[in-house]
Every structure is written in structure tokens, then in C-alpha cells.
Subunit: 426 residues, 2 copies
């Protein structure tokens, strides 16, 4: 298929939260204590909440930058692309990149809202979390209907409250919950306890996908304190196989047959090997470990419950039938450094040139529409939704940006990984 | 190719060290302090050394057992197959399984000799380690020339001594060193320091392969304390990608262009995705991280330095050209629970039925011969080396075993993972 003819929905992008996020959504009595943007002495913009300080990291908002300028230093809003935090600019960037719709993971609260969970004042935390979700659903996603797949943060500290919040946001049309890849690593009960059952019941009842982003256990793949950062960047996606194995063999899958889980930013090329490994583990060991999927193989169970995604993964595309044609979605990862925005459609078209159109359409948008109960075609026709049509709408929107102060944003080779691990929410 | 016509060399099997190992090899003054087998009150045989007690784990010697009897309890020599610890029986088991030659990783000392390294008396540790290597090379491998690829343990606590030991064993024809997948996790300097340079110089000079077995950083893939053991079994092989990434981006590869590394028991189906990920990481990030392979891509560098292996990996076989036909060897994993001994040739032949004979021969033996500088054909002709010829030699050797006391060895579902992690050397 020609890049211009494709329809593209990305199931993994990121929002850099704008100042004023909470203004319209938090009750007045919590306004003072809610998270706030503060300008630091070195000119960076940081979020502050209850004593925590969370910088924006350069590498998390490099969309449009020359690669020489990638880096992991803290940054300020006037140094990053407005499309990262301004919904009107974001929609223009999406159109310029040929992207019909996009699901946006949070930045400063952490992928599972750890920042809010850390607050000792749980009433405040709950008010902040609800305000965040309302902002995300009503304002960020609501301003341009059919362009943003709404996503909610979980109540990490209370499974019952979390279930209630899931039901509350589902009533507003939100069918995606961002969650941690491993609650045990964050100090909560694991996927193997019954602690989370109220939540699993709610997501099944409300048809909400549990979207698990890589890195959401708060643990980066750091092999050694002095390892080059390239090691961590290489290993990040495959590490999500830990979450996949943890959930696949857990009681969650067995007790909640309707549960749907997305492995976000995890890539796909490793999945066929992983499925073989699951089946071999079952074959060699289930007689003494007692695993039982009612006669099904683990690989079949995986395909019933897991959505995977890729940016442009030649191995995953070649092996798409071994993964499951209904189990692969596309992601752009805007504005992170893995993204090839605004040329992602051309990149994918080149890699997928041998795929039949019907199969490619499943990957680029149909699976996303179905898994996330999200229908963009209520708002525009398919003809208005192609890469070419969207680009024509936005005209000559500028997709380039040079750093205003390259001195601040050049290289970061000397910065040790330990600091990155503490700083990064990814 | 028919299973009976294949020639099979396994680059990953395991020896369960027999009592009396040190008798002929340790200087008299260290005999009393050397590791010893002790019978415990519950009837298990355990190794003891300097206050440490290391049991044999049932799951590490299940060859020939019905799968219902797999388990992770400690065991005794009279409950496990003699081929695990007796070289004469091992050779018969190899022949019955159609295996021409085999490389055997250590059991009780740990994959990188951590048990010896833990000794406060370094003279004793060195004597024990040299005795172990002499036993392995001269007695275990030497009794049946051309059947066992000799392998040496490293001097983990002293890089200069380690280099000297590599040169000493290489002079005896040993071209494989078992090493840890991550020295940093064991408390030693990482692959990114210059600490190990004397060792890397020695392995390059002596044409010795650094054989890195999964699990050799002493860390199992435990997602949560209450996770089913199936999670860990599933994840073990892929975790070696951490070692591959750590070494690939390290100064070792750049400063020692002749170094050869084997990823043992790591499987292969994930490698094509991993190589794509390496190249994408390089493409997106090298301008700011400063990585430089002299114009080569990381995937090319990988193929120059890394040997992979599989038991029977359908995805790896399908993608063999993306991995590198010269970079794949075969393994049996006798007597561990992943092994399909004695039917491994039939299992591989079924999975590899569409591969041209010349390609399959590279995988089943030619790559092992070349990488490990090991020539079994000095001792027998190719015609005498096939699966069929070896099986004919050994006649009706009994390949079945039932546990004498199934009550001790049945199920282990209730045993928590934490204990396994401490007990297991794998």
C-alpha cells in the first residue's frame, strides 16, 4: 500500500502535560496542593508535587529534532515542540505525520500514576488523579473528537477505588487504563494475589484494555552502573516479555476470561519465539507445575488476551501470522526518540511493502479501533482519514525544529545512568 | 535430512560432578579442605566447601524421567541417571541419543566458579579450581577423546590469574572458558571497565571462546516472590539478551577484535528482532551517545563475535539467514529439563525438515567444530559419527529410568521461588 493511502492509528504516544492542566478540573480546596510547574534556576520547567520534583527530559520530547541534539538533560517548554503539550499543535503534528488517532501515555505522573500514589494524603491524591483523568478525557481527548484515544490513570494504592475510577471513566467513553508492568516491583501485591480482583472485574465489565507500557515497573534495564546508555535503550522493549510471562501464567488470565492487555512499545519480532517458549515450557513442565488452561496452549491463550504493537518491525511483519493478525497494532511513539515522526507512514510502507492491503489495515488501524472500542469514523469518513488526506488538511505545517539553545541540549554521554534511572519516568 | 544421518555436536550440556573428582588432581596439602560430597539426614547428597552446602537439584538431572516426576528437590546420586556423573555411562547416553560430542557446563561450582571465588583462602581456591579444570580436561574429557569439548572454569577473583589459567588449559587443548553473563551483578568490575583486559587478551591469543550460560549472573528472572515457577522457566533464555547487549556495546568488542563469545542455552528465535533493535538504536542514537564500530552496523559486529545455539527452535530455523548461518550451533541440554534426550535428533529433524543438508550440518556440528577448535574426526570418521552409527554402537542401552522413590521426587509446586533462587546454580 502507498503510504499516502494508509489509515494510521497509533496506540503508543506520549503527552507532555501542559501548565494549567489542573485549573479547570481540581476542586478549589485542593488547588494549592495540586501539582504545579516551576521554573528552576537553570531555566528548566519542572513539575512539583508534595516535595517531589519531576523534570521533563530532553529525550522524551525530541520530535523533529536533529539526532545530534538528542539528550537526557532537563528541559523547558520553550525548548520543546509545542505539539508535545498543546492539543491544537498536537493535532496539527498528527495530521502532518499522517496520523488519524493516537493514544497518549502520561509523562510526569509516571505510567501508572506512581507520583500521585506516593502522596500521604490519599484524599488529595484521589482528587488530583480524578482531575488528571478528567483533563485527559474531556479536554485533551475531548477537544478534537475521534483524534485521541482516551486513557485513564489507575488508583494504584486502592484496588476498590481503582475499580470505581475505571467504571467512572468508562461511562465517559474511556476504554484504556495505563497500568504497571509489575505491581510487585512497586511494592504492591503481585499479579498472582487476589488483591487486584475488583480492578480486573471492572475492566472486564467495562471493556477496558489494561495498557502496560514498557518501563512501567520503575525499573530500567541497567546491566551495570558504567554501562553505555545504548545498552538500556536496546533492551527496553524486550523487557516487557517479563510482564507478558508474569500475566500469562497468572490467575488473572484464568479467572477473568474477558481481560484484555496491551503490551505498549514492546515491539513484536520476539513474540513468535516467546510463544514457542511458552508452549515448550507448558509441554515440558505443566505435569509437575500444575498449569492448566483448560486444554488450550499458552500461545492460544496469549492471542485471546494480548495486543502487541510496533513502530516498524521487519521481523514482526514477516512473522505476523505467527503473532496473530488480530494482535498487532501500530505505534508512532511521538514525541520520544524511537519515533520516526513525521515520516512514520513512509517507513512502515517500505517495511510492509509485501503485505496484502487487508492485513496491513488490521495493523495500522482496524485492530486499534476494535481493541480500544474507539470509532474515529463517527467524526470523519475513511476517505478523510488517510495519511494523504490528513496531510492535505494541515498544509505546510512546519515539522522541523532546531533547538533555540543547542548548548543546553547537545550531548549527554558523560551523564551516568544512575541519574537517568532516577529521573526518568520511562 | 533423516535424523539417523545427522552428525550432532551439542554446545550446551551439563556435568553433575562425581564424588572423588578431586582425588587425582588436588595437591595433598589441600585434600582435606577441598570440596566433598556429604550424605545429609534426609538422604540427599550435597557438596560442601568452606561452610557452603550445595545440593543437586532434581530438575537439573531429570534426563530419562517421566515429566510427572520433574521437581526441584535436592536429590542423591542413586536417584539420578548415572550418565549425569559417570563418564562411561555419559558416553553411552550420548551415543544412545545420537550425540557425537558435547560441551559440559559445571554444576556445583556455579557456571563461573563462584563457589571457589567465595573462599577467603585464595591459594586453596586456586588449587581447587586448577584441580577441577584438570579433572574436567584430562579425566572427564580425556577418557574418550573426541567426545567431550573441554571447558575450563575462570579465576573470577583475579583477572591476571584468570589469563594465566586460560593459557595453561589452552596448552592442553581447551578452547572454551565458562564465564558469567554479568560480572557486575556478582560484585566484580563490569564489562565496561578495563579490569578484565588481561583475560580478553589471553582468550584472543589462545583462541578460546568465552561461553556465557544463561543464569550465570546468579540472578533468576523472578518477577514476584509468589510468581509460578513457569514464569521463570519461560523467561530464562531471553534474559541472556542482556549479556549480549552489554557486551555488544562494550569496549571489549571494540578493543579485542578477535574475541569470540557464545550465548549458551539462549535460544535463537529472538535474535533477528534483537539485531534490528541494535541497528535501530545505533541509527537513532549514535550521534549523541558516541558509539562507533568503524562504519559497521551492530548486527554485523554481532555476527563477527557471537555464537548462538538452540535445542529445536522453529522460529530460529525459519530466520536462520537473519541470524547468520555461521552463528548457530545445536545444544541438547542433557540432563536438564529442557532437553529432549534421547529423542533430540528426531525433534530437530522434524523442525528442520525444510533446511538444505549443507545448512543443517553447519548448525548440527560444523559451527561447533570451528568455533571451539575441536576436531572429533581425528578420532573417528564422519561415517562413524552419525546418529545412526552411534546408536548402533551402543546397542540396546537403557534410556529409561523411574525414580526409585517417587515420593521424594514428585511435585514441587509448593516450593517457593526464593528458595530455588538461592539453591539453583542455573
Amino acid at each position: 500500500m502507498n503510504a499516502e493511502d494508509m489509515i494510521m492509528i497509533s496506540v503508543d504516544d506520549h503527552v507532555v502535560e501542559p501548565p494549567g492542566l489542573f485549573d479547570q478540573h481540581i476542586p478549589a480546596r485542593y488547588r494549592e496542593a495540586a501539582p504545579k510547574i516551576v521554573k528552576t534556576e537553570d531555566g528548566s520547567d519542572v513539575w512539583t508535587f508534595g516535595g517531589s520534583v519531576i523534570p521533563n527530559i530532553g529525550l522524551n520530547a525530541v520530535a523533529g529534532r536533529p539526532k545530534e541534539e538528542y539528550g537526557i538533560e532537563p528541559t523547558s517548554f520553550d525548548e520543546i515542540r509545542p505539539g508535545t503539550y498543546d492539543i491544537h499543535e498536537r493535532i496539527k503534528d498528527m495530521s502532518a505525520g499522517g496520523i488519524l488517532a493516537s493514544m497518549n501515555f502520561p509523562s510526569f505522573p509516571g505510567f501508572s500514576g506512581r507520583l500521585f500514589a506516593a502522596s500521604a494524603d490519599k484524599d488529595l491524591a484521589m482528587a488530583v488523579l480524578r482531575a488528571y483523568n478528567d483533563w485527559h478525557i474531556d479536554e485533551w481527548a475531548g477537544t478534537y473528537p475521534g483524534r485521541i484515544i482516551p486513557m485513564a490513570l489507575p488508583v494504584l494504592w486502592d484496588a476498590e477505588e481503582c475499580a470505581r475510577e475505571v467504571r467512572r471513566v468508562a461511562a465517559k467513553g474511556c476504554h484504556s487504563l495505563t497500568f504497571t508492568e509489575n505491581p510487585a516491583k512497586l511494592g504492591y501485591p503481585s499479579f498472582h494475589s487476589d488483591h487486584w480482583d475488583p480492578l480486573w472485574r471492572a475492566v472486564c465489565d467495562e471493556n477496558v484494555v489494561v495498557s502496560i507500557h514498557l518501563g512501567s515497573s520503575g525499573q530500567l534495564s541497567v546491566t551495570a552502573a558504567d554501562a553505555p546508555i545504548d545498552v538500556m535503550i536496546t533492551l527496553q522493549p524486550m523487557n516487557i516479555c517479563q510482564a507478558a510471562a508474569d500475566l500469562l501464567w497468572s490467575r488473572v488470565i484464568k479467572n477473568f476470561p474477558d481481560i484484555k492487555i496491551a503490551l505498549s512499545e514492546g515491539g513484536t519480532g520476539w513474540i513468535p519465539y516467546f510463544l514457542d517458549r511458552l508452549d515448550r515450557t507448558y509441554d515440558m513442565h505443566h505435569l509437575w507445575t500444575g498449569q492448566d488452561f483448560g486444554g488450550k496452549l499458552p500461545s492460544e491463550v496469549f492471542r485471546e488476551h494480548f495486543l502487541t504493537c510496533f513502530i516498524a518491525d521487519p521481523v514482526g511483519i514477516a512473522l505476523r501470522n505467527l503473532i496473530g493478525l488480530d494482535n498487532i497494532a501500530w505505534e508512532c511513539d511521538y514525541p520520544h526518540s524511537d519515533s520516526s515522526w513525521p515520516h512514520a507512514p513512509e517507513e512502515l510502507a517500505a517495511v510492509a511493502r509485501d503485505i496484502p492491503d487487508a492485513e496491513l489495515s488490521k495493523i495500522t488501524y482496524e485492530n486499534a479501533v476494535r481493541w480500544y472500542s474507539f470509532d474515529p469514523f463517527q467524526h470523519r469518513t475513511r476517505e478523510q482519514s488517510t495519511v494523504g488526506a490528513l496531510r492535505a488538511e494541515v498544509g505546510d505545517h512546519d515539522v522541523s525544529i532546531r533547538a533555540r539553545d543547542t548548548g543546553r541540549l547537545q550531548r549527554s554521554v558523560g551523564m551516568e545512568l544512575g541519574k537517568l534511572a532516577e529521573m526518568s519516568t520511562a
